[in-house]
Every structure is written in structure tokens, then in C-alpha cells.
């Protein structure tokens, strides 16, 4: 069991006439038996980070920094290395909309058995563990209910027994009880010793399952720490605003709009929306090196 060490990772895309700085200088560590949630609103760069870890960035992307999973640097590896040693074997992906991640013309069983054959796993065991009955496996993806599709996705992600799972917005669009079931499943996996990177905009879900939460804003991690601390005792005004926006809390929005990733301010990207901002925020704040780290000149 090894850690995932994300060290000063940046990702940018060259577009016509502009550069999108999607991920900036992100460092994060995920240990076995730990669930880390990466939280932020849509477009903040969290999905790009997940894609970078899996080698799924589009061709116009460039990366810097490193993401070490044991001896392998995920960002430096070739696609072939990633395909033969990392995906499915060391990192399992639990996707958003699991049904659409299945090939529609093949049954769940054939896809599960195929993956098991390639990865040397046990399809029947993986299915059982995911709570799938044999008759579910004979269905085509479109015949699976949302919950069933989610279980198939879990079984597929786990069949190669990867130590690290990346869940990319797994709860979006799911009914609340399905969300709860899925989060419970994650918890069990974490307790079994898996590492889980949960990428979500759903703060409540993150709070429910994650050991640690990293809050991302405009491509940067602005705060990272134990889940309850980040949510209940936020140090960064953005995290605090996000927590307060939850319907079960103040249900109040953060004023303003996030900046464009093609046009990030030189200083703190949140400063224009921040009621605490002063002149010092013209400088870019650095993420502190604490168990509860924050990147803010004027933390709460």
C-alpha cells in the first residue's frame, strides 16, 4: 500500500489565443485507508486533476509537477505504462453517470468478465462484493436502474483490486438514498484499506464520507484539512462561504462570480469576492504546510 503524492501539479491547455490554467500548483497526499474529498464548484479544475492522474487529458494539455503513486510518476508515465500498470490495477475510476460509462451493446457481465480477465481479478467475487445478483449482470446497461448501474461501476472499478479509487462526481443526479448508499460503500472501502479520492461539488457528501477535504478554487487548493475542521471551522473565506451556502446551514451564496481560468488575477483569485480582502491579497497566498492548511493572507 502506497501513498498518492500529488506535488505541485499544474495543468494548462493551449486554446486558440488563450491558455487555460486549469490546475495550479496543487499538492495533495492521499494515504491508504483515507478518503480525501476534492471540493469546488464546476469549472474549478478538479475534474482536470482527476483526468491528469488517469492520463486522460486531451492532446492540447501540458502538465508540470509530479503525482507519484509508489515508484511511478503518473504525470511522466506514457499512456502505455498507464494502461498496463496503473488504470484498473492501481487506480480504479468510479465515474459520474455509471451507465454511460458502460458500452451499451454489451451486457454488464461481459464487460465485467473482460475486465477481470485482463486484470486478473475475479468477476464473480467483485460482483458479489458490489451487491450484484447474477441476473443483474445479464442486463444491458440501459436496462440497469441507477443503483444497479452504480454497483456495476463499483464492481468494475474494484475488480482489479486497485489500492486507490478516484470517484469523479459520483453523486451528481442521484437520489439522496442512492447517494447515501454509495457513500457508505466508499466508507467500507476506505475502512478496508483503500484510498479514495472523491471529487465532488456536493459539500454535504464530502462531509459525510471524507476524512480530509481539500477545497479548490480557480485551479488552486485554498484549504485542506480534516473534514469537519474544513467545514465547521473553515480558515479560508471561500470554504466558509461554501459551507454557509449549504441549505442546512445559512443557505447564503458567496457574492460574485469565479474568475475565468484564462484570465486569473495575479494575486489571490478569491480576493475580488472576498469581504476580508485587503491590499495584501494582491500577492498570491501560499498554501501553508499544516495538517489543516490554508492559502490565505487573512484566514478566518
Amino acid at each position: 500500500m502506497v501513498n498518492l503524492e500529488i506535488d505541485r501539479v499544474s495543468v494548462r491547455f493551449a486554446l486558440k489565443g488563450a491558455t487555460v490554467e486549469a490546475v495550479n500548483d496543487v499538492s495533495l497526499r492521499i494515504r491508504p485507508g483515507e478518503c480525501v474529498a476534492l471540493v469546488g464548484e464546476s469549472g474549478c479544475g478538479k475534474t482536470v486533476l482527476a483526468s491528469a492522474l488517469l492520463g486522460f487529458l486531451p492532446g492540447n494539455a501540458e502538465t508540470s509537477g509530479s503525482a507519484r503513486l509508489g515508484e511511478i510518476d503518473l504525470l511522466a508515465a506514457t499512456d502505455h505504462e498507464l494502461a498496463t500498470t496503473v488504470r484498473g490495477r492501481r487506480i480504479g475510476l468510479i465515474p459520474q453517470s455509471p451507465a454511460s460509462h458502460l458500452t451499451p451493446v454489451r451486457t454488464a457481465r461481459s464487460q465485467l468478465e473482460e475486465a477481470a480477465r485482463i486484470l486478473g481479478g475475479d468477476a464473480r467475487q467483485a460482483a458479489e462484493r458490489a451487491g450484484l445478483l447474477p441476473e443483474h449482470l445479464d442486463r444491458y446497461p440501459h436496462e440497469l436502474s441507477g443503483g444497479m448501474a452504480q454497483r456495476v461501476a463499483n464492481a468494475l472499478a474494484l475488480v482489479g483490486n486497485p489500492p486507490l479509487l478516484i470517484a469523479d462526481e459520483p453523486t451528481t443526479g442521484l437520489d439522496r438514498d442512492l447517494v447515501d448508499g454509495l457513500l457508505d460503500e466508499f466508507r467500507r472501502l476506505v475502512d478496508d484499506g483503500h484510498a479514495v479520492l472523491l471529487i465532488t461539488h456536493d459539500l454535504a457528501a464530502a462531509h459525510r464520507v471524507a476524512d480530509r477535504i481539500a477545497v479548490m478554487y480557480a485551479g488552486r487548493i485554498v484549504e485542506a484539512g480534516p473534514a469537519h475542521e474544513v467545514l465547521d471551522a473553515s480558515k479560508h473565506p471561500y470554504s466558509r462561504g461554501l459551507a454557509n451556502a449549504l441549505p442546512e446551514r445559512d443557505f447564503l451564496p458567496i457574492p460574485g462570480q469565479p474568475p475565468l481560468l484564462t484570465d486569473l488575477p495575479a494575486g489571490c483569485a478569491f480576493a475580488p469576492r472576498c469581504d476580508q480582502a485587503t491590499a495584501i491579497c494582491e500577492d498570491r497566498p501560499v498554501l501553508t504546510d499544516d495538517p489543516h492548511a490554508v492559502a490565505c493572507h487573512r484566514p478566518c
Binding site: 488517469l54 486522460f56 494502461a83 498496463t84 496503473v86 488504470r87 484498473g88 490495477r89 480504479g92 475510476l93 465515474p95 453517470s97 454511460s100 460509462h101 458502460l102 458500452t103 451499451p104 451493446v105 454489451r106 464487460q111 473482460e114 475486465a115 485482463i118 486484470l119 444491458y140 440501459h142 436496462e143 468494475l156 472499478a157 475488480v159 482489479g160
Partner: protein, 326 residues
């Protein structure tokens, strides 16, 4: 209702649709042919029309019933057609069934081998081009395909004929046998090479580009990314996932491609004097040979309809999502 029954019903419904289509098409052709300036009598006389006395020509017209109203001609044709008697071809002076019987085999041979080859080429080259996207290989394949699509099939046929049959003399330039040789498998195979190759390379570009495009699109789709995320090797991702879905629309388009194929075969058969149905079709059209033209066109239409039906059934079998009540 099981899926099998549903597919059966789909087939029946489509077949039921085919009947009025065939009736409309055949009748429309009779009307069109009737309106055509070509005079079958004149064709029958050929050069001897010059000097033939007017009374004789009129007499022949009456004997043939050429001047009867088109509806009664059509009705007569239809009544016999239902019993399997397709009438006699005026231009070829033979029962239509014999005309078709003599030629159909050759056309089926040419078209099926050509189509198969085009499909194989299309799948292989299309997959290859998508797989090596952006490489010189991809660019030569796609470039070649665009060029071949732009070139008229008969021009390609003539070029191939010129190079391989006339200049290099590697292969025979037409027909199905050389001289008085009896029809033999080897001989036919040799004669088949050039026409089949031309038919295939005239049809293949479309398939190549289609396969390539669809594969490329499928590479960005969730289920392919999902398969990759599972750690499947690239070749499995392509063969087991990307191709499986990107070829689905291909199936229905195979049916839609049939008229093009028949058109291509018509020109290829003309260039290579292949003794198939296509040449008889041109003859019939040129000579306003009601019986033959009607039978051939109805047959071509029927083939297309059946082809479409097959494609739809294949699609329904291949894609469990397809709704069968549309």
C-alpha cells in the same frame, strides 16, 4: 412480447411497406417510360428502319400493343408478374425471367465480392486511420479516400483497365472468360479481380471515412473512457468497445448504401463488359423495354428494401437499446 418477436414484427411491417413501394415504383416507371421519346419499334428495326415501309411499322406497333394505354399495359404486366411470368423483353427478345436468370448470378458475384471487399477495406483502413490519427498513414489513407471519392468510378475503372489490362497485361480486361474457354473458377476469379477491385475501391472510401470518423468520435465518449479507465489494453478498447458502438450506425447505413452500390456496379459492369444485370438495365432503360425495365427496377428496389430491412434487423439485434415500435 419477446425481442425476437418484436424483430419479427418489425420485419413484417417493413415487408408490408415494401409492397406499395414496389407498386408505386413500378407504375411510376411505366408511366415515365411511356413518356420517353425512345421508340421500342425503332430500336427493334435498328438500321433497317430506313427503307421499312410505314405500313409495316404501324402493323408491328399493333402486333406489340405498344400503343395501348399505359394503364392497361401496366395491368397486363402486373397480372402476369404476380404469377411469376415477367413477360418478354422486347429489346432482348427473351423472357424477362431468362434475361434476369442469365445475368443475376454474375452481378451477385461481382456485387457481393466487391461489397465484402469494400467493407473489409473500410473497416481495416478506417480503424487503422483512426488508430494512427494524424500520422502520415492516416493522412495518406484519408487523402487517398477523398481523392477516390472525387474520382468518377468509370474514370478509375478506365485507368485501372489501361494500366493493368492494357499496359502491364497482368489481368484480363473484361468479360468473365477468356475467349472460348469454358467458365471455370480460376478464369472467373482472374476476370473478377479488376472489376471487383474498382467497385471496392470506389465504395471503400466512404466506409473508411465513416469508420474513422465514428471511431474518433467514440474515443471521446464515456464508455470508451470507462473501458480505458478499467485498464483494458488499447486493442481491446477499440475492438470490444469503440468499434462495437461506432459501427452501429454503420449497419443502417449499409442498407442506405445499396443504391450507391448498384449504381457503382452499373458503371463498373459497363466499363468491364461484365455480363451482369447492370448492362441489361442500361439496355432496358435506353430501349424503354417496359417488361425488362419494370422487372429490373422493381427488383433493384426490392433488393434495396430488403437490404434496408436486413440492416434494421441487424441493428436491432446488435443494439439492445433500439426501440422496435417506431
Amino acid at each position: 412480447m419477446t425481442r425476437g418477436q418484436a424483430i419479427g414484427r418489425l420485419a413484417l411491417r417493413r415487408l408490408a411497406f415494401a409492397v406499395p413501394v414496389l407498386l408505386v415504383v413500378s407504375f411510376a416507371l411505366f408511366v415515365l417510360a411511356k413518356a420517353s421519346p425512345f421508340d421500342p419499334i425503332e430500336r427493334y428495326f435498328g438500321v433497317r428502319i430506313i427503307g421499312a415501309s410505314p405500313e409495316r411499322v404501324a402493323q408491328l406497333r399493333a402486333n406489340w400493343g405498344v400503343d395501348e394505354p399505359v394503364v392497361s399495359q401496366y395491368w397486363a404486366w402486373l397480372r402476369h408478374a404476380v404469377t411469376g411470368d415477367l413477360g418478354d423483353s422486347l429489346s432482348l427478345q427473351q423472357p424477362v425471367s431468362a434475361v434476369i436468370g442469365d445475368r443475376l448470378g454474375w452481378t451477385v458475384l461481382l456485387v457481393s465480392v466487391g461489397f465484402t471487399l469494400a467493407l473489409v477495406l473500410g473497416l481495416l483502413l478506417g480503424t487503422l486511420a483512426a488508430w494512427r490519427q494524424g500520422s502520415w498513414l492516416d493522412r495518406s489513407i484519408t487523402g487517398g479516400c477523398y481523392a477516390l471519392e472525387a474520382a468518377p468510378v468509370f474514370w478509375v475503372g478506365l485507368a485501372v483497365l489501361y494500366v493493368f489490362a492494357l499496359q502491364l497485361r497482368w489481368l484480363p480486361g473484361g468479360g468473365v472468360t477468356t475467349g472460348s474457354e469454358p467458365v471455370s473458377a480460376g478464369g472467373v476469379a482472374a476476370h473478377l479481380v479488376l472489376p471487383v477491385a474498382v467497385l471496392a475501391i470506389s465504395q471503400a472510401p466512404w466506409f473508411v471515412l465513416f469508420v474513422r470518423q465514428n471511431l474518433l468520435e467514440s474515443f471521446t465518449q464515456d464508455h470508451v473512457i470507462g473501458a480505458r479507465a478499467r485498464g483494458l489494453p488499447d486493442h481491446l478498447v477499440v475492438s470490444g468497445h469503440a468499434l462495437r458502438t461506432s459501427l452501429l450506425p454503420f449497419l443502417t447505413l449499409l442498407g442506405a448504401r445499396l443504391p450507391e452500390l448498384i449504381t457503382g456496379a452499373l458503371l463498373v459492369e459497363t466499363v468491364f463488359s461484365w455480363p451482369g444485370i447492370a448492362r441489361a438495365t442500361v439496355e432496358a432503360a435506353l430501349n424503354v423495354d417496359f417488361a425488362l425495365l419494370g422487372a429490373l427496377t422493381v427488383m433493384a428496389t426490392g433488393v434495396v428494401l430488403v437490404g434496408n430491412l436486413l440492416a434494421d434487423v441487424l441493428y436491432a439485434l446488435a443494439d439492445p437499446r433500439v426501440a422496435l415500435d417506431g
